[in-house]
């Protein structure tokens, strides 16, 4: 499946979905003016990929510095999709990276991690 690469802007994160290597990553800041417009293509590509995942491995990295409430809803949807794929047999691992000095992002990671019943969750400090 063709890679999905979206460059970061000052309001949107960088998206790097390397489907062939089963490594997906989203990083940076997220407060788009229209959250649906930004995340819809991402959901679409992810649905297609996870639909064919089967029992394969998949790693998803969140490396976010800041996001607004609308983006939080989109992230929760991403988490749900990943958890469903894990429930369906995929070996899904979610990595949540946070800045060592950013307690908020660490706490949010913990909360999101609690929602995952099937995917394996890792809370990691970002390396400088």
């Amino acid at each position: 499946m063709e890679k999905l690469e979206i460059k970061a802007t000052n309001r949107t994160p960088e998206v790097s979905f390397d489907f062939d290597n089963n490594h997906l990553k989203i990083s940076g800041e997220s407060y788009p003016e229209d959250v649906t417009e930004f995340y819809d293509p991402i959901f679409e590509a992810l649905d297609e990929y996870l639909g064919n995942l089967g029992n394969s491995n998949c790693r998803f990295d969140f490396e976010l510095i800041y996001f607004n409430s609308s983006s939080a809803k989109a992230i929760m949807m991403l988490m749900d999709k990943l958890d469903e794929a894990a429930e369906g047999g995929g070996a899904v691992e979610v990595y949540w990276y946070y800045d060592a000095e950013d307690d908020t992002m660490e706490e949010l990671g913990e909360e999101f991690g609690e929602d995952l019943d099937h995917a394996k969750f890792h809370l990691e400090k970002m390396e400088d």
Binding site: Y66, S69, K73, T104
Partner: protein, 433 residues
């Protein structure tokens, strides 16, 4: 409002739902499963809503913190800007205003670079300054020198000069960079500035004498117009915006050759200012490094300053002189002012026209101008005769011309010269008494 009470209604809905399930009010298993799924999703939705609200509150706090940080940063920037402004105002005093502005407005690059440009260069120094310093207390000397340099700098600033540097009592300025009004205008501004400085020093000399300085300062000024290399010289760490070249050396040399209280200019400068500034030839000087001698001129004054004398002797008087003299010697008699303008004549229609010979004599280029019958035949408006200068109070104020066959004109020319001069002296005596 606490989060719990904010979601009290939703909590009550969930509680009621649980009761429905526990009380076994839903008998059909299908209905029970559907209700349970609905309740689970409702609980999840509430959880999501709560999380979004918490995130929204966190972000709000973060934004407030950032706004506060930004406010503090803006205060710091404002304080730093004020510090920089104060500092740059102090630094500005070490630079010529034009150089300072061109650097601060970004027009001038602060790098070792130079260019060739035609400038008018000015040098002045105080005559016998070293001798004066030996006799004075340093406090008095400081006060005298600072007052002198402050006054001179103000005049330089008023005339748009770029002050290059002070070297003890000497001042080096130039016109034409970084701003130029054109070579002629720059030269004129420079010589006008020199005259203003010379006049101001005369005024200051009176107050210095009253203040107890036995030998008040007099200065010498040299001016030359020519190509210079102008730009930043020095090292990358310490540079000076200055000018170098033969023209700079020549201006300095002219200053050394100037009379006490005098202004000596080169022919190049003279050529640009002669229409407006009364100058007289001051001979030639040899300058080291130059193969040819330099023709110099002594600056007398602005032509417009001379008009004070001329105005006291009004045109009616000059016209009477011309008419009386013409009747006595039976020739055409005319009087010329600056640039050879005919301001009085026994032939009325000549008044207001310009006379080439008169212009040359007024400009100090000649002490007598003779037009032959052939010259007169070739040039419209010219008549055979002689033109001679009238010097009054040490200044060349008019010319008188007698138009007649040359041999007669030569004889009557001198008589006319004396006649006009004696009338002028008499008129001045009457005006002052």
């Amino acid at each position: 409002m606490a989060e719990k009470s904010l979601f009290a209604k939703e909590e009550a809905v969930i509680e009621a739902g649980r009761n429905v399930l526990e009380n076994g009010r839903l008998r059909e298993a299908e209905d029970r499963d559907a209700f349970e799924s609905l309740l689970t999703n409702y609980q999840k939705l509430l959880k999501t809503t709560r999380r979004l609200m918490r995130l929204s509150d966190r972000n709000e706090r973060k934004l407030n913190e950032m706004a506060e940080e930004q406010r503090l940063a803006a205060e710091e920037i404002s304080r730093k800007n004020k510090e920089l402004e104060t500092l740059s105002n102090k630094l500005a005093k070490y630079l010529s205003p034009q150089v300072y502005s061109s650097i601060f407005e970004g027009k001038q690059e602060v790098a070792l670079a130079s260019k060739r440009k035609k400038l008018t260069v000015f040098f002045s120094d105080i005559v016998g300054f070293t001798e004066t310093t030996d006799k004075m207390e340093s406090e008095d000397l400081t006060q005298l020198l600072n007052q002198y340099l402050t006054e001179m700098s103000q005049i330089a600033f008023d005339h748009g000069a770029t002050i290059d540097k002070y070297i003890g009592d000497a001042i080096m300025v130039f016109f034409g960079d970084p701003e130029s009004r054109g070579v002629r205008e720059d030269a004129l501004a420079c010589v006008s500035m020199a005259i203003a400085m010379r006049d101001r020093i005369k005024e200051l000399a009176v107050s210095w004498r009253q203040a107890g300085f036995e030998k008040p300062l007099t200065c010498r000024i040299g001016i030359h117009t020519g190509y210079c290399t102008v730009g930043n010289f020095g090292s990358e760490d310490r540079m000076d915006y200055t000018i170098i070249g033969g023209s700079v050396n020549l201006a300095s040399r002219l200053e050394h050759e100037a009379d006490h209280g005098g202004i000596l200019i080169s022919y190049e400068t003279y050529a640009h200012v002669k229409e407006d500034i009364n100058c007289e030839p001051a001979g030639q000087i040899q300058v080291k490094g130059l193969a040819y001698p330099i023709t110099t001129y002594r600056v007398i004054d602005q032509y417009e300053s001379l008009s004070a004398t001329q105005q006291t002797l009004n045109k009616r008087l000059l016209q009477e002189i011309c008419e009386q003299l013409a009747a006595e010697i039976n020739a055409v008699v005319s009087i010329f002012a600056q640039r050879g303008e005919i301001i009085a004549s026994s032939v009325a229609e000549r008044i207001g026209k310009f006379h080439e010979g008169g212009a040359q004599v007024m400009a100090g280029e000649a002490d007598v101008y003779e037009a032959t019958a052939d010259d007169a035949a070739e040039s419209e408006g010219m008549m055979e005769g002689v033109t001679l200068p009238i010097e009054f109070d040490g200044q060349r104020v008019f010319c008188v011309a007698v138009a007649a066959p040359l041999d007669i004109a030569r004889q009557y020319g001198r008589i006319a010269q004396h006649w006009v001069l004696s009338h002028l002296k008499e008129a001045k005596r009457r005006t002052s008494s």
